[in-house]
Amino acid sequence: MSGSVVDNTVSSGNSSAAIPTDVSGQILDLDEDDDLEVFSKDTTLTDGSSFNASMQTSPASMINQYKFEEDADTKDIFVTVDNPESHVTAIETYITYRVMTKTTRSEFDSSEFEVRRRYQDFLWLKGRLEEAHPTLIVHPLPEKFVVKGMVERFNEDFIETRRRALHRFLNKIAEHPIFSSSEDFKIFLTAASGELTSHKKQGPGFLSRMGDTVKAVAAAVRGVRNRPQEFTEMQEYVEAFSQKIISLDKVTQRIVREQKEYLEELKECGPTYALWSQSEEELAEPLKNVAGCVDRCCKETEEQVKNLSDHLIPVLHEYVLCADTLKAVLRRRDNIQADFEAKTEALATKKANRDTMRDDLDKAEDRLEWANNALKSDWTRWQKVMRTDLRSAFVDTAERNVSYYEKCLAVWESFLHSQRTDAEGNGKVDFS
């Protein structure tokens, strides 16, 4: 399973609602003509109106123009995951994937990178990002090992599904205004295997020290007292969303099951018509023809089932995992607030170490404010991305269904056509 398909449209979510500081930096980058050239060569950019020749000049429209360009041109890094390969060692067998990066960002030493990564490495990256940014939303990774209905880890379909999911994961990271500038991300994309291993061993950086503190606090937490209304609303939304997306996942899986069973029955129809044709003379030809038509429809149905399994179900599944991620993020935010509340109370009641406590309280307050703001903007960003992803997944599904019916329609129309020309030729039946 090789093939280096640069499929950057898989997750076309644009990082629009980024936190201001990052955006300004990116806008400056875009003024370079070289950058523009690179982008115009990329045919996968679906937003064709990026380079509007007629630029308006009023200040307001200039701002809009920046935002617009920012949407299209912010993509200065392209990542693909492909080419799975199996590796056998004395201890284990595992799969690595090729991760290719093309970028114009100055912080990268070169413009193209190619490394091989295994699932563990992706897990590591995700963990690092979560540690560093406890209240930002990290896109989920495909599950470690799906037991239900799985034959083995190295099944072709499983590997392909996982590859696609890993590709989506990295692209989501690359499109995230904060994650994409993460040092760990850069190392993940560029370091040779040995380098990556040693970097992993280095231990947590200063950012994750904050994460450690959060973890320590979490252990002692007693719950949040005054959760702001908007976060309560978020939690309610996440609960409901989680239920809906799980239902959709289940419904879709049920549809796949029913279609498979339908296919099993349909597969017997064609041969029965063919068998019948052997006893007939005049009817032999139309019967054989019908048998052929039914068989062709079977093939289309088979492909249709595969499409659902390969395209819609993985996306729905990812958003089921997303819902869990959101719950975890909200919990972490709550913990940070709880920590602040605990420290506030401690300062009010205890007498000793007031200076240290005041210091801690200030830090906790900063942390809380930072966490809340980060979550708020990332929430908005996430909602946009979710909407885009699910919309395109369902649009795609609808298109495939249309295509399926169109193909079957053509099959039966060709049968009708053959019967009509036949009959009219024999003068048997007048179809006028």
Binding site: V251, R254, L390, V395, A398, Y405, E406, W412, L416, Q419
Partner: protein
């Protein structure tokens, strides 16, 4: 959709057919020009009704009666449209009519009745004889039966058939008066017995084999089709869940709400569309079933031919043995082993008077035997001639009808695909507004 109303007008003498959606057109396929009753009379089974009454063992029973309407052809074309003559018949009376026809015209492939009990059902289809859908399909089947008989060159001129259509009271007695039952009983016994024909007619043997194959393959097709229909039903109906979940989901979303909600409606429409699709397919199944039962009628003709042949062979065999006996008696030689020969050896020969008497009896028997053989031979020849004409007619009818059925099946599939395309295009539009 089902059948279009009460005033169904039979297609008369029309061999130019379009593969239209009209169930009747497809069914009234091969209508003979010329002698058919349909030239003079329109026939339809307009309605069905439930009745309750006392049966033969004086117990209450519920049964269905069907309204047969007839109208002279001229009246309709004149545009005056008078009230048709009508009478009510129940299924058992149709059966009686058919049994009479079977016995009276053993050399004809008699059109079959719709099934007595619902078979090849899939879960949503009811196996209950009282179920309105079953009754409706049976009504259509009974009408089809009458039209087939009325368009048959020979059957259409039968008096009993005519009075079935026109005389409500006393028809049963008329049928019994023909004495067909006696013939029926003896033939039935013979048909059930196993017998072997010495010189089987190859053509009939082939026809019987074909009948067996047709019956087997159509049964298989009906079974497979019913299972597939069941599954297809499941696929469509599950999509209804999308409708429900989209609707619930839209309640918690702001911008996505409208798109989701309307997409959900289309999913509901998709789920609901399967009911019509499968109802249409049921008509296709009914067309196949008719020929499943026709296969049986075909085999019956072949079997009856065998019986006729067998009876001829028996008569001929009997004649040969009687002639041989005469020869032996006349010449005094015993060529074949016979019990009489042995006993006469043991107990002495008969007297000349006894021999004379026996010879005379044999002569009479031989004369009668020769008459019988001549009769049976003529019967057989007549049977073969008439049967073969009807079999050829049947073959043409079958080829035409089944071809039309396959075409209408294709049209159904096309319609289903078009509906699918429409629904999913609509859904796609809604999704893109999410």
């Amino acid at each position: 959709m089902a059948d279009s109303g009460s005033e169904d007008i039979a297609v008369i003498g029309n061999t130019d057919l379009t593969p239209s959606e009209s169930e009747n057109n497809v069914k009234n396929a091969m209508v003979e020009k010329g002698t058919s009753l349909l030239k003079k009379m329109e026939i339809s089974v307009a309605e069905a009704e439930k009745r309750t009454g006392k049966n033969a063992v004086n117990m209450q029973e519920t049964y269905t009666v069907y309204l047969i309407e007839t109208r002279p052809v001229d009246a309709a074309s004149e545009g005056t449209n008078p009230v048709p003559d009508s009478l009510w018949r129940r299924y058992s009376e149709f059966e009686l009519l058919r049994n009479y026809l079977l016995v009276t015209y053993p050399f004809l492939v008699v059109p079959p009745l719709p099934e007595k009990r619902a078979e090849f059902v899939w879960h949503k289809l009811s196996a209950d004889n009282m179920d309105p859908d079953f009754v409706e399909r049976r009504r259509v089947g009974l009408e089809n039966f009458l039209l087939r008989v009325a368009s048959h060159p020979d059957l259409s001129s039968d008096k009993i058939f005519y009075s079935f259509l026109t005389e409500e009271n006393g028809w049963k007695e008329t049928v019994f008066e023909t004495g067909f039952q006696a013939k029926a009983d003896s033939r039935l016994k013979a048909l059930n017995a196993t017998f072997r024909v010495k010189n089987p007619d190859k053509r009939f043997a082939e026809m019987k084999h074909y009948g067996d194959e047709l019956q087997s393959v159509i049964s298989q097709l009906l079974r497979v089709r019913a299972r597939a229909a069941d599954r297809l039903y499941g696929v469509y109906k599950v999509h209804g869940n999308y409708g429900r979940v989209f609707s619930e989901w839209s309640a918690i979303e702001k911008e996505m709400g409208d798109g989701l909600q309307s997409a959900g409606h289309h999913m509901d429409a998709y789920a609901a569309s399967v009911d019509d699709i499968l109802e249409e397919e049921e008509h296709y199944a009914d067309q196949l079933k008719e020929y499943l039962f026709y296969a049986d009628a075909l085999r019956a003709v072949c079997r009856k031919h065998e019986l006729t042949q067998y009876e001829l062979e028996m008569a001929a065999q009997d004649l040969t043995s009687k002639k041989q006996q005469r020869e032996e008696l006349a010449t005094g030689t015993i060529r074949t082993f016979s019990l009489k020969g042995v006993t006469s050896k043991l107990f002495g020969q008969e007297t000349p008077e006894q021999r004379e008497a026996k010879l005379k009896m044999l002569e009479t028997q031989i004369e009668e035997g020769e008459e019988l053989v001549k009769e049976r031979n003529a019967e057989c020849e007549e049977f073969v001639k008439s049967a073969w004409v009807d079999i050829e007619r049947f073959k043409e009818q079958k080829d035409h009808d089944l071809r039309e059925a396959l075409i209408s099946y294709a049209i159904m599939q096309i319609s289903m695909c078009k509906k699918g395309i429409q629904v999913w295009n609509n859904a796609k539009e809604c999704f893109s507004k999410m």
